[in-house]
């Protein structure tokens, strides 16, 4: 209750923190900051967890934001402390430099094997305080301060981790009671690396007596630790949006169709209630057009890494669209619509497709020319001028003729043709990629993360009216 009144400096500090959070992409408005101040008046500041939690509850409004918040919070206050230390000229006793930090035992020589075992034990138990101490010890033992400490902190972190033999996968060659034998918990490992990084940065700041610019968060930092199920859910969410966009797009009415049309029969019927005077006008309901969708998905070896993502997109599309036909291709095309209709579980679908889609043939290399002609033969008669064709593929023709003319003929028949390429834009048209040959006939999107899939959906909406 009797929380201390905010000190003069803290307001400015908090605003700075808010500024940094904004720079990392969090939407923080003035009202959030006001809430944060109000919340801080209610909690004690002596406990780090309570302080951080109160700020997080008011500033970070989703799990993703929370992850960013935690990282920025850590970075911000770490740097604030270091900056203050630099100003005041505080230095730690150079125990670290001499290679003799706080010791686990009384012996003067730091035993590497012992250190390994202790760190592994601390990680297995997720003992935060112990990990922090041991991180300093490990640096003292392994970072070789004078000679080869690299300027890049990340390299040192990985080198130390390797030297300690800390891995998340099981190491059956080790002794039975070694906690590393069954693999260490991934989150503990991650935390330990963070601690190592913080300690190394601290040492670097001390050594050079300058505070470098803050390191921006990388995509990897931001990523929440998630499993395939979470990814699948994300794809499904995006595809649900896609469905709405495709359904409404292009069906904006113009000219006289913009007005409602009177349904004479129903109006007359309704007028009977009012003695034949048409008081209530009945109009014909407008029915939005159902999108017709043809999806072609590349499952060849060159897109192995992306094909799980693609199949999950396909799977999600099937859950959303009724009138949809899907095809997978490598050398030849094969229709898999009924596979999706039969199986609902994603694992079963991908297994079935892998087993008996019958597209692998001999080489396992994509033959786009053949794919286009076969696809045309399959759907020529059904392909509606209102249909949308989506191709999921990397456009790597393996030196074969891309047959862009065939593709163009296909694209002309459909209302829209969209191409999602799982490679970064940088790699297009290098090597055997023939993206440029197809690009004039379709809209091409770079797409290898759910975020890009979302961007693709958004750009569909933005392009409406063209």
């Amino acid at each position: 209750m009797n929380a201390p009144a905010p000190a003069a400096g803290i307001d400015a500090r908090l605003l700075e923190l808010g500024e940094e959070l904004r720079a990392e992409g969090l939407a923080i408005g003035t009202s959030e900051l006001l809430d944060a101040f109000a919340a801080l008046a209610e909690v004690g500041w002596t406990e780090r967890e309570a302080f951080a939690a109160a700020l997080a509850a008011t500033l970070a409004k989703s799990p993703e934001d929370r992850r960013v918040f935690d990282l920025v919070f850590e970075r911000f206050f770490f740097r604030a402390v270091e900056a203050a230390a630099l100003r005041e000229g505080v230095r730690e006793h150079d125990s670290e430099r001499a290679g003799t930090g706080p010791r686990p035992h009384d012996d003067t020589q730091l035993d590497l094997g012992e250190l390994r075992a202790q760190i592994a034990q601390a990680l297995a138990n997720f003992d935060e305080a112990r990990m922090r101490d041991l991180a300093r010890l490990a640096i003292a033992a392994l970072a070789r301060p004078d000679r080869s400490r690299s300027a890049v902190v990340g390299v040192d972190v990985q080198r130390i981790r390797r030297a300690l033999g800390l891995r998340s996968d099981p190491q059956p060659e080790l002794d039975g009671d070694d906690p590393r034998r069954g693999g260490l918990p991934r989150d503990a490992l991650r935390r330990f690396e963070e601690l190592l990084r913080a300690e190394l940065e601290r040492a670097q700041i001390e050594r050079t007596a300058t505070l470098g610019p803050a390191r921006a968060l990388s995509e990897l930092d931001r990523a929440l630790p998630s499993g395939p199920a979470a990814d699948l859910a994300a794809v499904h969410r995006v595809v649900a949006q896609l469905r709405r966009r495709l359904a409404t797009r292009g069906s904006e009415t113009r000219g006289r169709h913009r007005h409602d049309r009177i349904d004479v029969r129903r109006t007359m019927r309704a007028s009977l209630q009012t003695g034949g005077v048409p008081v209530v006008i009945k109009t014909r309901p407008r029915r939005p057009r159902r999108p017709e969708l043809y999806v072609l998905c590349d499952v060849s070896t060159s897109v192995t890494s992306a094909s799980v993502f693609f199949l999950s997109v396909l799977h999600a599309l099937h859950n959303s669209f009724r009138q949809m036909r899907s095809f997978v291709f490598i050398e030849r095309v094969s229709e898999v619509t009924d596979v999706f209709a039969r199986e609902r579980a994603f694992a079963a679908v991908s297994e079935t497709i892998a087993r008996d889609a019958g597209v692998a043939d001999v080489s396992g290399y994509t033959d786009y020319g053949r794919v286009w002609s076969e696809f045309r033969a399959l759907v020529e008669d059904d392909l509606d001028p209102r249909a949308t064709v989506i191709v999921l593929g990397d456009a790597r023709a393996n030196g074969r003729d891309p047959r862009a003319d065939q593709f163009a003929a296909l694209a002309i028949r459909a209302r829209r043709t969209l191409w999602l390429n799982p490679e970064p834009r940088l790699y297009w048209n290098y090597g055997d990629s023939v993206m440029a040959a197809y690009a004039p006939f379709c809209e091409v999107f770079e797409c290898w993360t759910t975020r890009q899939l979302e961007d693709f959906v958004n750009s569909l909406a933005a392009g409406a009216g063209s």
Partner: protein
Amino acid sequence: MSALPNTADELADGLSAAGYIPGGEVALVSYLAVRLGKPMLVEGPAGVGKTELAKALASYLGRELVRLQRYEGLDEAKALYEWNYRKQLLRIQAEADGASWNEVQDDIFGKEFLLPRPLLSAISASSPVVLLIDEIDKTDQEFEAMLLEILSDFQITIPELGRIEASSQPVVVLTSNNSRELTEALKRRCLYLWLDYPTPEHELAIVRLHTPELADIVARKLVEVIGMVRELDLKKPPSIAESIDWARALMLLGARNIDEVTFAQTMSVIVKHRTDLEIVAARVGVALATVPQAQ
């Protein structure tokens, strides 16, 4: 009406006494919500005790819980208020002759003819309540927009009557399963709390609280197995409620340990899909069979 808590720890104790063991930041954020009078948005996977939290809060604060279960298609009439149409008709017929139109019109749009629905009754209650708006993500954005007025100013505008301001400020808890991204405007007005599956120790405490008779070894093993099952890629991972159910089932069966056979017999308590059952039986069942019993 009991007084507001003075510290987060006090609230944590109160929640525990009400049968809800708060983990992580739950107590702190709830404390802030109560103290600051801000709505609290609780997100997390299904079955981690979001609704229970609201119930426990109500019971701890000694307030009535007004609950609005959201579903697609729920409109203002069912959430806010409705005019009592029949009563209005009766009123008109009762003095059909004589009364002028203006009189009747003024009359039939009075408070007397208003049927309060959960939201209106929550803010017009004489003593403060805990308002639980469950599964807010199931509604459309229009409804969210309508909530904004209530959440930020605690008032409702009824066109015929004017503004009705809250006579008491409710503690508002919104829950969401994160099936849809909520609008920024709504999130901005709320304190945010992400509830995830509990840590093993926390879950053990919860199981112990609800089934104190269960043998210690079994409870530990149960929490461990539940953790294993949640790691798998399932359609519906087991919730806390399901671990409690399972604990009760094991207690009734008088299980002394969870081995392969017991697990096979009772796993339908925690896993509810056919495909999930197959996955769990294949992975966890085998794991239980191969790991030698440590005890």
